[in-house]
């Protein structure tokens, strides 16, 4: 127990790696433990570079700001497009954080260790995806109401807005992580990442924006909201497998 906490305090990736593989007893460490170890380690690493964590959030704000400037300052007109703009901005902001999701670990060799470690790679990568959501999705969920006010989104819609974004950004993180795993070994993978991931995210965009739009007109949102949740469940079940397959291919030499 003591060695575990010592290892967790240190921040080099390999030491937390050995914690994950060393196990508390027999060869296989508990799955929940692995997940939490990865998440805690990633969050700790990210918190050291807080400005990088805030980048997707600032990007989100900037993109939203572009629309009034490009179209019109009239709130009534902006309100009509507000749902869509918020969602598009969220998609793009999610992309920003994806580029560094796996890169550091692949470059310093941690990922190779993970692939060889005998622990379920899909779970390890999924844990990193959860971190991505915590650091890039959740802030958007919280900031969206405030930023959305600039587009005329009324306070009454805030709960629906946040709930939808919470579910939707989960799907965005998973799809994005698959793309990130595919492109992590490429030299200039970031443009390609966008090209691969954005078309796959279109259904999330369609239903997510629709939910917010319906809420703004006071209409029931259950239909598309259920579809959004169903999609998240689908991606949750199949996504980690795709991520792991992609990562194995990217990392093998």
């Amino acid at each position: 127990m003591q060695s575990d906490s010592a290892a967790m305090r240190s921040d080099t990736p390999s030491s937390s790696m050995s914690v994950a593989t060393a196990g508390v007893g027999p060869a296989r460490t508990g799955l929940m433990r692995i997940t939490s170890l990865v998440i805690v380690r990633d969050v700790k690493l990210a918190v050291r570079h807080l400005d990088q964590v805030l980048q997707p959030l600032v990007f989100f704000a900037i993109v939203v700001t572009l629309f009034p400037l490009a179209i019109s300052p009239v709130i009534d007109e902006l309100r009509k497009i507000s749902a869509g703009v918020v969602w598009v901005a969220a998609m793009l902001a999610s992309l920003i954080a994806l580029e560094s999701l796996f890169r550091a670990d692949v470059e310093d060799g941690t990922m190779e260790q993970w692939v060889l470690s005998g622990q379920p790679l899909s779970l390890l990568l999924f844990s990193k995806t959860i971190t991505h959501w915590l650091l890039a999705g959740l802030p958007l969920v919280i900031a969206a109401p405030i930023i959305g006010t600039g587009l005329g989104i009324p306070v009454s819609v805030w709960p629906v807005l946040m709930g939808t974004l919470a579910i939707g950004t989960g799907s965005l993180s998973i799809l994005g992580a698959i793309g990130a795993a595919l492109t992590v070994s490429l030299r200039r993978g970031s443009a390609l990442l966008a090209l691969l991931v954005l078309p796959l995210e279109i259904p999330v965009l369609i239903f997510g924006a629709r939910v917010v739009d319906l809420a703004m007109h006071g209409e029931p949102v259950t239909g598309p909201l259920n579809l959004l949740a169903a999609m998240l469940l689908l991606f949750l079940s199949l996504g980690p497998l795709a991520m792991a397959a992609a990562m194995r291919i990217s990392v093998e030499s």
Binding site: L182, T183, L192, S250
Partner: protein, 262 residues
């Protein structure tokens, strides 16, 4: 490199002759020869069928009451649309087979058909846009088929771009295969969501780019043209597949034999 051929599914066939055809089929030299032999049987019949379809569609079929002669565009627009989707499925299935059973030939097939599918998608979009101008008055409308075809084009381009980004052909094949599988799972979701999105805003009375209800004389040229397109695609795929096989078989001894016998 030669160790790859050992892991290929060309080892001794399993029990009985039931699997023999599969093993033969998955052997690159066999596929190379067979594709070469089959091509003319796809190519020339497809041209003949096209000639008949053109005659039926452009000359015999009477003008439509509403669309007059403009509907004739569907004879090239709809086959392109259907093929653009079917080819993606072929590509994804081939990629999955290649990934799961480590069959180079399957990867070769996926790589072979990808640009063809992209071309059909482009054709569908271009002919759809041209068809749309006299029908709607605009060069583009966000109607369900065109919108989902546009997304399909992005999926094709992504597949080809990912494949081209890898230096190593094997890794390119396998990474692209994962993408193709993820893509094909998403295609029904995308189509459904686009259909849904469109029906919300445009309403069911909005005329899609579909032919008017077809009479018999309108329908048979369409069926013929569809078959002709499929055969044409098969013919071009034969050539493309052979190229992709050659790219993946570096030192195999069968190459010398086969090329000499050309």
């Amino acid at each position: 490199m030669t160790s790859n051929t050992e892991s290929e599914v060309t080892a001794a066939p399993r029990s009985g002759s039931r699997w023999l055809w599969f093993h033969k089929l998955s052997s690159p030299p066999y596929a190379f020869r067979t594709a070469g032999n089959l091509r003319p049987w796809f190519f020339w019949p497809s041209l003949i069928l096209m000639a008949f379809a053109l005659y039926g569609g452009l000359i015999l079929a009477p003008p439509d009451y509403q669309q007059k002669d403009a509907f004739r565009i569907i004879y090239v627009h709809v086959p392109s649309a259907i093929l653009s989707l079917q080819v993606y499925v072929v590509m994804a299935v081939a990629a999955a087979v290649g990934l799961i059973w480590r069959m180079k030939l399957a990867h070769a097939l996926a790589a072979a058909v990808a640009p063809l599918g992209a071309w059909f998608t482009f054709l569908c979009l271009a002919t759809g846009s041209i068809y749309g101008k006299p029908m709607w008055g605009t060069w583009w409308e966000w109607e369900p088929r065109l919108t989902s075809e546009l997304i399909m084009l992005f999926l094709y381009l992504g597949f080809m771009a990912l494949r081209n980004s890898f230096d190593d052909l094997q890794r390119a094949d396998r990474a692209a295969a994962v993408l193709a599988i993820v893509g094909v799972v998403n295609v029904p979701i995308v189509k459904f969501s686009v259909q849904w999105w469109n029906s919300l805003h445009q309403g069911p009375t909005f005329s899609k780019l579909d032919a008017p209800s077809m009479t018999a004389s309108m329908a048979w040229p369409w069926g013929l043209m569809m078959l002709a397109f499929v055969l044409y695609f098969a013919a071009v795929t034969c050539d493309r597949l052979r190229s992709e096989i050659l790219r993946r078989e570096r030192n195999a001894s069968w190459l010398a034999e086969s090329l000499r016998s050309r």
